[in-house]
Symmetry: C2
Subunit: 82 residues, 2 copies
């Protein structure tokens, strides 16, 4: 399992409720790909959302995000953390 | 206080030790600006580092990063979290 940070652009104006709903949509199906979405942060002004997950691969992260209706624009493995 | 996610590019090949040293350099002076750097994640392959902090402003975050020798390329307020 590897930790991933993925980034979504174009989310200008996202609300706390919308972020929560999007995260819940991921959580509801994440087990299908052995992914776990840990945290997410949103900047409604620039329309940027960051999601932190543990997953077997970037492709597994993307498959869950796509099925949940919000494909990621970037997915980076972040094996180093402090 | 607001939560910020900042991003550094061009850090290809960063090691766990270098990430830890960079984070320690921030922690050593963060109180000067009432900033707290909470976590950081690095992708040595794409050379991307993400830092999560709490701070009075993006400018305060940048002043600490600059003094510590690693100016951020992007700083986003992330008032929404889940």
């Amino acid at each position: 399992m590897t930790r991933f940070m993925d980034v979504h652009h174009g989310m200008e104006g996202i609300t706390a409720d919308q972020l929560r709903e999007a995260h819940q949509a991921d959580l509801a199906i994440e087990k299908d790909e052995n992914v776990h979405f840990e945290q997410a942060w949103a900047d409604p002004e620039s329309g940027t959302v960051y999601c932190l997950s543990e997953a077997p691969s970037a492709e597994a992260v993307q498959r869950i995000h796509e099925r949940a209706g919000h494909k990621a624009d970037e997915i980076h493995a972040v094996p180093l953390t402090v």
